[in-house]
């Protein structure tokens, strides 16, 4: 087998003794907030949680809001099935996350920052709190009026949706809000808020450390930089890997799969399923299929009906339940494929269900319901026989 060309990168977990995260912070705040924003925009960094909003713009919009009270929130509600990179980051290099938050606070003018840690990661809290305490103390010594706090979620997937996360933090039911207003205008406590994914915040501090050019040099025109991937499923080497964005799925499969891959689910349950025949033409990145990092490989022993069924069960349970398309739509999709499998509905019913997912995609209130069409259509279209028979 030919040696593979996937470029592995070591930015996220690398450690520069000469320029530790707090040193990066000290170095960065010598610049003006606007020039930090320019660096972020110049780097081309897009949010690593999955949605891919340009980070520099998010910071800029929030900075431009006129409010005495602003917040920085680190979204560590890593709930997408198949992603486990944020856990590793918070465990191994939390200082980089904290530095990213503090830099963001400097840029937008926030006095408080929160890390919203998913309920299942409560085991991380003790260690993380120690690091936060040390970091807060370092900020205090520098007479910086910014403090970071930890908040624990309670296990609802939807709370990873930013506005549901704010509701949860405010002590309410974790239900997504109507948008607009967006978080940059009215987020936590209805104040301007930057909410970034754990990994995004690390890249912000790393861009400040090494300069935007080095980051920009990685990846492709549409997908600058690198990204941490959570590789799982039928692979002998499951784990997390930092790779350049914009790679071919074919190369990824050759490196990670067990030689028998029939499909890769890119982006978790809410992402897209790519069948073997499309491995060659698929690019991982914003120009192709973007991902929050989850890469699930399925080999020929797997039933794609079961895969889809599992995903739909997950969404049926994890929908917050407030909006009709998502609450009822997910249930209909789940029961619908069961009915087709049992022959209670004709195979053509799958077409009705696909139309339903298209409504969910444009009419659901938040990203959860909007994204169910991704796995549904990509699995049903590519593995129709497995769904029906």
């Amino acid at each position: 087998m030919e040696q593979l060309q996937l470029k592995k990168v070591d930015i996220i977990f690398g450690w520069d003794e000469k320029l530790t995260p707090i040193d990066v912070y000290d170095k960065t705040i010598k610049k003006s907030p606007d020039s930090v924003i320019l660096d972020m925009i110049d780097s081309g960094l897009k949010g690593r949680g999955g949605a891919g909003f340009p980070t520099g713009l998010k910071w800029k919009f929030t900075r431009n809001e006129d409010s005495a009270e602003k917040y920085v929130i680190c979204n560590a509600d890593e709930g997408e099935p198949g992603t486990f990179k944020d856990r590793e980051i918070l465990d191994r290099v939390p200082e980089k996350v904290l530095a990213g938050m503090a830099i963001c606070a400097y840029v937008i003018g926030a006095k408080e920052g929160y890390i919203y840690v998913r309920g299942e990661y409560n085991f991380l809290l003790k260690g993380l709190q120690k690091k936060v305490d040390i970091f807060n103390k370092q900020l205090q010594e520098r007479k910086v009026d910014f403090t970071i706090y930890l908040r624990s979620g309670s296990g609802a997937y939807v709370c990873g949706e930013e506005s549901a996360l704010f509701e949860s933090m405010e002590g309410k039911r974790g239900e997504p809000r109507n948008k607009p207003p967006y978080p940059t205008v009215a987020g936590y406590n209805s104040k301007p808020t930057v909410i970034n994914n754990v990994e995004t915040l690390v890249y912000t501090s790393e861009i400040c450390r090494m300069g935007p050019e080095k980051f920009k040099a990685l990846g492709t025109f549409d997908s600058r930089g690198s990204k941490v991937f959570s590789v799982s499923g039928d692979t002998p080497i499951a784990g997390i890997y930092e790779l350049e964005l914009g790679m071919q799925l074919k190369d990824f499969v050759e490196e990670f799969a067990d030689g028998d891959a029939k499909a890769v689910q890119i982006g978790g349950a809410s992402g897209h399923c790519v069948p073997r025949k499309k491995f060659n033409e698929t690019v991982i990145g914003f120009e192709g299929i973007p991902t929050g990092g989850s890469m699930m490989i399925f080999n020929s022993t797997r039933s794609m009906y079961n895969v889809l069924h599992d995903y739909l069960e997950f969404f049926t349970e994890e929908s917050c339940g407030q909006c009709t398309p998502c609450r009822v739509g997910c249930q209909q999709l789940l029961k619908g494929i069961e009915a087709v499998k049992k022959g209670e509905k004709p195979p053509s019913y799958l077409e009705d269900l696909k139309k339903l997912t298209l409504t969910m995609k444009i009419a659901a209130k938040c990203g959860l319901g909007q994204s169910v069409a991704n796995p549904f259509i990509s699995i049903v279209d590519n593995f129709k026989e497995e769904i029906i028979y």
Binding site: S319, C320, G321, Q322, T324, R327, K365
Partner: protein
């Protein structure tokens, strides 16, 4: 101003206007379910989605503010498909046994299904059989989860308007539902039975416990003498359910219909509203005397009105430490029942056990009230059945009466005479105004110093209203009140009541007398009134109430000749021995959960 186009028609609206409202101005109706003019925006049913040019997603028009240059399409192909899907999805989790539903013909979901001609819709039936078991624990409200579409209007009503939160959203996904604390029966939770949730429920998930069949049975029973009493606010709203314009006064037609339906006597709760003023006014003056002259520290001020059973239960749950502030007067409904089965039964020579008292109320809490164990002072259940304005409208229809064509008729006597002071009980501030008209005159010998007796400061939609009246030129018996500034406050809707009560609790106020009505707008906005409700509808009903008052010859409770007669004949004097026995009661502290 913001310029936009809706369906290619240009319009200019104020900043902050929603797409929904902007479309309405161009006479484009966008269907809604979770939206309600009294409540915060939810944007969760998604039936009001519209297409905005350039946007990837459809937008919920109720939750989307207009923006400059926006191009909106309210009936594009995408919109129509999505909207139909939403309706189909809602129907798939809805118990669509429409013909058996109490809301049949009055259901917003049914209307939409009809509009979109959703036939045998494609999706699978998701209704769980356990949800089809109705919660009928409450004598006032029936909760049927199988009809619920999760629009959360009831949840917002209970929290935002009433500050009760007896209903809340629980669980998520397919298990999400609207429930009570620990899913306890409605009768075992903090619910005040106000019925505001019913007024805003788009389907049959929340309805009143109806007693229509029981009342017909009583009417048809030759051994029973069925007496009906009608509350002040019913006469300005009943017409709405019978094809007559909002804000129409239908007192005479209502009396006529009740007589045609076969009630033996048609009497008026307004009579006992006047009687309430005599009792409550005297109670207030007595309390003032005990506080000012006798320095009796056991007597509590401010005295609080006790006409609204939703408010009473709210206070029993939320402010049990201030129960002694409540007037001991029963509500007019219960005074009526107690007098009907004693004094009146004697007068008409009917045995109390053969008498059935039916009361027509704008209220669902009254159904709970008549079932309270304290309300049996006649030796029987004082009021047997309470019907809402809506139930009466249904009975009128069942009786085949063409309501609009009825000639006006008059209440029977006795217990049928009333004054303008009684009818204004139906609007927020009305009890206060009626009490002041009488108490002021009793104390000074002069009419209240307001043009046409209209005490404007206590009227209107403001949540909490305050007024002060200086008492001057007292008659000798009340000389201790000379120069006293009587401070009063009025609140309506329990969220406002809570605000007022909290400020009283903190000692921030020096009121002598406060009026609280459980429902927004007072009884005209009661939980038993015709659906829909909105600030505009309540304003029209209020105007009708005050027009009714102005149209009366007698406008002060103490001038009601039948009231004078009942004191002379039977009760003696206000707060006398007989009054205490029949017309006054006590309250009990209840837990919040």
């Amino acid at each position: 101003m913001v310029n936009l186009k809706i369906n290619n028609i240009a319009i200019s609206v104020e900043e902050g206007t929603t797409v929904l409202d902007a479309a309405k101005r161009l006479n484009f109706r966008i269907p809604t379910l979770c939206n309600h003019p009294d409540l915060s925006v939810a944007g969760n049913c998604r039936v009001c989605v519209v297409e905005i040019k350039g946007a990837r997603l459809l937008a919920a028009s109720c939750a989307t503010p207009v923006s400059e240059g926006m191009e909106v399409f309210t009936n594009s192909e995408k919109v129509r498909i999505a909207r139909k899907h939403v309706v189909e999805l809602l129907l798939s989790e809805h118990n669509s046994d429409c013909t058996k539903c109490f809301k049949n013909g009055h259901c917003e979901l049914q209307e939409l299904a009809s509009e979109y001609r959703i036939g045998d819709h494609v999706f699978l039936d998701l209704v769980k059989s356990k949800d089809k078991i109705q919660d009928i624990s409450s004598p006032s409200i029936v909760k049927d989860n199988s009809k619920c579409i999760r629009c959360q209007r009831c949840v917002r009503t209970c929290a935002e308007l009433q500050a009760v939160s007896a209903l809340a959203v629980v669980h998520k996904g397919n298990h999400q539902s609207i429930s009570t604390f620990l899913n306890k029966p409605m009768n075992d939770v903090v619910c005040t039975n106000c019925g505001q949730c019913i007024n805003r429920c788009p389907t049959g998930a929340l309805t009143e416990r109806n007693y229509i069949e029981e009342v017909w049975n009583a009417i048809y029973d030759p051994k029973k003498f069925v007496v009906v009493e009608t509350a002040p606010a019913t006469r300005v709203a009943l017409g709405e359910d019978l094809g007559i314009d909002v804000g129409s006064r239908v007192t005479g037609k209502m009396v006529s219909a009740l007589k045609k339906m076969g009630f033996n006597k048609v009497l008026d709760t307004d009579f006992t509203a006047d009687l309430t003023i005599m009792e409550e006014g005297t109670e207030l003056l007595t309390r003032l005397k005990k506080v000012i002259v006798d320095k009796d520290e056991t007597v509590k001020l401010p005295m609080m009105t006790s006409c609204s059973p939703g408010w009473i239960k709210f206070q029993e749950h939320m402010f049990p430490g201030m129960l002694d502030n409540l007037s001991t007067c029963k509500s007019p409904q219960q005074m009526f029942g107690a007098l009907a089965k004693t004094y009146y039964a004697d007068k008409v020579n009917i045995k109390a056990e053969n008498m059935v008292v039916v009361s027509i109320m704008p209220c669902t809490a009254k159904k709970f009230e008549c079932n309270r164990p304290e309300m049996r002072d006649s030796g029987f259940k004082d009021v047997d059945y309470v019907l809402t304005t809506r139930e009466l409208a249904m009975m009128v229809k069942q009786a085949g009466i063409d309501f609009d064509k009825l000639e006006d008729d008059h209440y029977d006597s006795i217990l049928g005479e009333s004054t303008g002071a009684a009818v204004i009980f139906g609007a927020t501030g009305g009890v206060m105004e009626a009490a002041l008209r009488t108490a002021y005159e009793l104390v000074t010998g002069h009419e209240v110093p307001f043009t046409n007796l209209n005490i404007k400061p206590v009227r209107g939609i403001e949540g909490v209203k305050e007024a002060s009246i200086k008492i001057k030129n007292t008659v000798p018996a009340w000389s201790f009140l000379e120069g006293v500034e009587l401070n009063v406050a009025v609140a309506h809707g329990l969220a406002n009541a809570k605000k007022l009560m909290e400020s009283i609790e903190k000692g921030e106020t020096n009121y002598h007398f406060i009026e609280i009505m459980g429902c927004p707008g007072g009884c005209i906005g009661g939980g038993g009134q015709p659906i829909p409700t909105s600030p505009e509808i309540r304003r029209k009903r209020t105007d009708a109430i005050y027009a009714e008052d102005m149209g009366m010859t007698l406008r002060k409770s103490h001038e009601n000749p039948e009231v004078t007669e009942v004191y002379k004949d039977y009760l003696g004097a206000p707060l006398g021995h007989k009054s205490h026995e029949l017309l006054h009661t006590h309250y009990k502290a209840r837990k919040r959960y």
